[in-house]
Symmetry: C2
Subunit: 294 residues, 2 copies
């Protein structure tokens, strides 16, 4: 992944000092592309921990103080808190700042941002880095989290072209592969390849874990089960917000999935080995060809 | 994983020179615990490739020739071919040999073995190493595949205790963690932690891959999707046999899963954020605690 020199940032404000925000701060710092990093979290402990770990240089008392003077703002809070967080900082945002989020849903985030920011919406670019890590918290922040990672930017008619270009250059400089999609198209796509898989993994893990002999079953589970259920360890508050915000698309994808499952169950019930094999063969060939980032 | 010295094997016959059989041969060879290795595959090309790769020393013209004189026989063929393969070698099996399979279902395998082997059933120990690798073929054979791997032995009333003990010692010497279960209990457990997850992964991958904008969707998929669908690349003939052989148990597990999914879909439809979160929280906490081999 060719990495260009990151656009220099004087002052980065990280609102929400968790895995995503912390990793962004570390990545910029590693690239020697940032002057000072100010952090704010609703949980004071998280922000203090981020300072102890050297992820941020200072902890602000509130979001408005954190963003004051910042030319780059990264909002990393549960998506349902987007509007509230942006409203709290609106008056303090520099007119020439770039403000981005990292949320997993975009239609709700863009609407909340437009409503909360008012005329300052031109500073905002919706961003979704599709990074995979089940452990939350700044302790697991990683300067390489975004290297090779797909980042989707979701501009709207209100997005300032210069901010979009700056956001694009910034993520690319961290090694990310940047795509652009409308917020609705983003949510439809992510329902299929991320949100529904999480819902299925939550359901599949619990279906095993609630059986009478669950400890014995889980002791017999192998690497296939481990990988299949990895995403079932996702953060409850984060995934609650994502699934609720994008529920229409997720439920639509669930209907498609159930139809596929039903087809397989019917072939099994009928003992139709040929149908079972051809249904598997199609998925197997497709999955064997597919590569992450391909 | 403490490894004891493997019981010495004079002559190993590998029937079915693919990933599992080839890896077993390589593991024994690495442990300097085998004299000569003879291979046979219904596909002559596989057996010849195994010889070229040094996985077997010689290729036999048929299964009976391969097992003649062998004190250890490893059968590694699709489970539905078990009876036919054992019948073809029955007369040539040494009375003091140990014969094992590596199939993913056990009730059908034990029944087929009893029927095909007649009095020679006392040489047979059903074995299922729960090893995870999606690429089939001896090219992907790996001397360390069974190191740390869970292996389930499925003795019946007809199993000779000395053969069971020999099988146990042999797998442990390769670093495996050995459990013993009845064939039916094995199949019930594996339906939950392996067979249904495969069925779900096949269905989930195809549900995405058949959408109009599948190439775009798949290009946006991240590491979560990669891991969740890894097992969807499983071998069609192998999984056809497993799912058909164990279909009652798999369908029973599918019913449990669908009930869990329905609960989540209902909570989403109702926009009940608290219910969604608590359903996720239970799965997330359970999956975060679970460890492979724990």
């Amino acid at each position: 992944m060719a990495q260009s020199r990151p656009p220099a940032v004087e002052r980065l404000a990280v609102i929400g000092c968790g895995l995503m925000g912390g990793s962004f701060a570390l990545a910029l710092r590693k690239a020697c592309a940032v002057g000072r990093i100010v952090g704010f979290s609703r949980s004071a402990a998280s922000a203090l921990r981020a300072r102890e770990l050297g992820v941020v240089d200072e902890v602000a008392a509130d979001a408005a103080t954190a963003v004051t003077g910042a030319d780059l703002i990264l909002l990393s809070v549960p998506v349902a808190s987007t509007g509230q967080a942006l409203a709290a900082m609106r008056e303090a945002i520099r007119p020439d700042a770039l403000c981005m989020d990292v949320g997993s849903t975009k239609a709700d985030v863009m609407a909340a941002a437009a409503s909360a920011l008012g005329p300052r919406i031109d500073t905002f670019v919706g961003a979704h880095p599709i990074a995979g890590k089940e452990r939350a918290g700044v302790e697991h922040a990683d300067a390489t989290l975004y290297d090779g990672c797909r980042v989707i930017l979701t501009p709207t008619a209100q997005t300032h072209p210069e901010r979009l270009a700056r956001a694009d250059a910034l993520w690319r400089s961290l090694g990310a592969r940047v795509s652009t999609l409308g917020p609705e198209a983003h949510d439809a796509a992510l329902a299929a390849v991320s949100h529904l898989p999480h819902l299925l993994a939550f359901a599949a893990f619990r279906a095993v874990a609630t059986q009478d002999d669950a400890p014995s079953l889980l002791s017999l589970a192998g690497p296939g089960f481990r990988d299949f259920t990895r995403i079932a360890a996702g953060d409850p508050a984060l995934w609650r917000d994502v699934l609720i915000a994008n529920r229409e698309q997720v439920l639509d994808q669930a209907r498609r999935f159930r139809a596929e499952l039903q087809t397989r169950e019917s072939a099994l019930s009928a003992g139709d080995a040929q149908a079972v094999e051809s249904l598997i063969a199609e998925a197997s060939a497709g999955r064997s060809r597919w590569r992450l980032g391909g």
